[in-house]
């Protein structure tokens, strides 16, 4: 699970959005997959990911034991070790990169590691094609997003959509994305603080904090 296909935005807006994920296939290569998934995440962690997730939680996760003082001193750093150590079932694990070079270097090392798991990249069509060519990989299959069919006009403006659809399972609500946009515009939160808050709601760890920060900074001075 990651659900990263239908992120809203132009090809240009995916310039800092590369998700690489490993997935075992039920009944085909899921035996002994947990250690391979951990190896995959350890490789990813070397290439400065923007986020990582393990099917249970991401590197920015909620905390059930906050102290009231957290309002002034909340930890905003990603915890990659926790994500890696907590892989306990043969599901999808993922890492998000905000740099094409890092994503390509990571993919090259994953190929060398020859884990036998299915490895996918979710980004622009061209971005993934170039990454494959860079690593000497012939793409096996490709799934194109034809976007949203919103005949009944349910969807919000493009800024809210870009922020909210980075959690493909819809755990970042439109209202919450709009609230964080407003808080940034009103100077009540910095883009960094808003991004960390948004990312905590994506349990797969595929929310891209770097892209979200860029979008929020743009939104301060440009309306949708």
């Amino acid at each position: 699970m990651t659900n990263t296909l239908h992120r809203y935005g132009s090809a240009e807006s995916f310039k800092d959005d590369y998700i690489i994920f490993a997935i075992p296939c039920k009944g085909k290569n899921d035996e002994g997959a947990i250690e391979k998934l951990k190896t995959f995440l350890r490789i990813c962690a070397k290439y400065v990911p923007a986020n990582m997730g393990n099917s249970n939680f991401g590197s920015y996760k909620p905390c059930n034991e906050l102290k009231p003082t957290a309002h002034w001193s909340r930890d905003a750093n990603p915890d990659y070790a926790a994500v890696i150590n907590a892989v306990e079932k043969a599901g999808t694990v993922a890492a998000v990169f905000d740099s094409k070079e890092h994503a390509e270097a990571c993919l090259a090392e994953v190929k060398e590691a020859d884990l036998g798991l299915s490895i996918n990249m979710s980004t622009s069509v061209q971005g993934a094609k170039e990454a494959a060519e860079h690593c000497g990989i012939h793409r096996h299959s490709v799934e194109y997003s034809l976007g949203f069919c919103d005949v009944h006009d349910h969807l919000p403006n493009s800024q809210v959509l870009e922020l909210a659809t980075m959690c493909g399972h819809g755990m970042v609500s439109f209202n919450f994305a709009r609230k964080m946009l407003d808080m940034v515009r009103e100077g009540r939160r910095t883009p960094d603080q808003a991004v960390t808050t948004l990312a905590r709601f994506c349990p797969c760890g595929v929310y891209n904090p770097s892209r979200a920060k860029r979008l929020l900074e743009d939104a301060r001075t440009h309306s949708a």
Binding site: T92, K129, I137, S145, H154, P203
Partner: protein
């Protein structure tokens, strides 16, 4: 999902957090309240960070702040008093949680999230072969939700085209009859956050399928996201589907790309492949 009225302090943080907009503050009782018919049991509210504060103390502080018109600025992702209670659900309501909470596994496929591997494991599973086109038609996402009777409108229209529904898909498992696309009746009014209908056809069928999806989408009051997939050739190119989509006027900038690095490693699955290979040689 339930909200414990003894713990809720009506801070309203959860109102914005709910993906379905199903939570509101009932001013008659001054507590956050869930519209049970709109709630899809996705669990987002219950995953908010928490401080376990004493509700009486928080209410007193909030009343004082209100009197003096102080701006109360809590962390927006925190339920200060841990007011959410995840309740036990029974059929058919439990389908809401299974289809909406990405941390819950679909029993029918053993997969979390939307419950399907799509072409993410196509290098191992060979769901979509050369000359075939796979479709993932997702309902309710982003942020709108969908009821099963709306999904059924689409599955029945697709069944008329005699498409092949993917066997390892949770919606297919809920079908009474794949030849009609009818779903289990007691589910039809349940609302979920999203679900994927997964089919495959020959490449010749692509225009008819996409036309049907577009036509039925106009009759369903939700949002639909469409993904189409194919297997690349031996050089990693797609000479078939991308040009066709171009000709049909579709734009597509984003994709999920299977790099083809997977292989069968389970012992039983390997033996099965060897047996099939031996049989084909004989």
């Amino acid at each position: 999902m339930l909200i414990d009225p003894n713990r809720c302090v009506a801070c309203s943080n959860c109102v914005a957090v709910c993906p379905m907009g199903a939570i509101y503050v009932d001013t008659k009782i001054n507590r956050a309240t869930i519209n049970r018919d709109e709630c899809v049991e996705c669990g987002t509210c219950s995953r908010m960070s928490s401080e376990h504060l004493n509700p009486t103390m928080v209410r007193t502080v909030r009343k004082l702040a209100k009197i003096f018109r102080f701006r109360f600025e809590p962390e927006p992702d925190v339920c200060p008093t841990t007011a959410f209670v995840v309740d036990e659900l029974e059929w058919p309501r439990i389908a809401r949680r299974v289809f909406s909470d990405p941390l819950v596994e679909h029993v029918s496929t053993g997969i979390h999230g939307r419950g399907t591997e799509e072409v993410k494991t196509n290098d191992v599973a060979h769901r979509v072969d050369v000359g075939e086109v796979g479709y993932v038609i997702e309902f309710g996402r982003p942020g709108v939700g969908v009821r099963f009777h709306q999904i059924q409108s689409m599955t029945m229209a697709l069944a008329e085209l005699r498409v092949k529904f993917e066997a390892k898909n949770p919606i297919t498992h809920l079908m009474l009859d794949q030849s009609t696309g009818a779903l289990k009746e007691d589910l039809l009014n349940e609302k979920i956050l999203s679900a994927i209908v997964e089919i495959k056809t020959t490449v010749e069928m692509v225009p008819a399928v996409l036309d049907t999806v577009t036509r039925v989408a106009k009759q369903i009051d939700t949002v639909i996201a469409i993904g189409v997939s194919t297997r690349c050739d031996q050089n990693g190119e797609d000479p078939m589907l991308a040009p066709l989509l171009d000709d049909l006027g579709y734009t597509f900038v984003r994709a999920k790309t299977n790099m083809g690095l997977g292989r069968i490693t389970n012992i039983q699955a390997k033996e099965s492949v060897s047996d099939q290979h031996a049989a084909s040689v004989r």
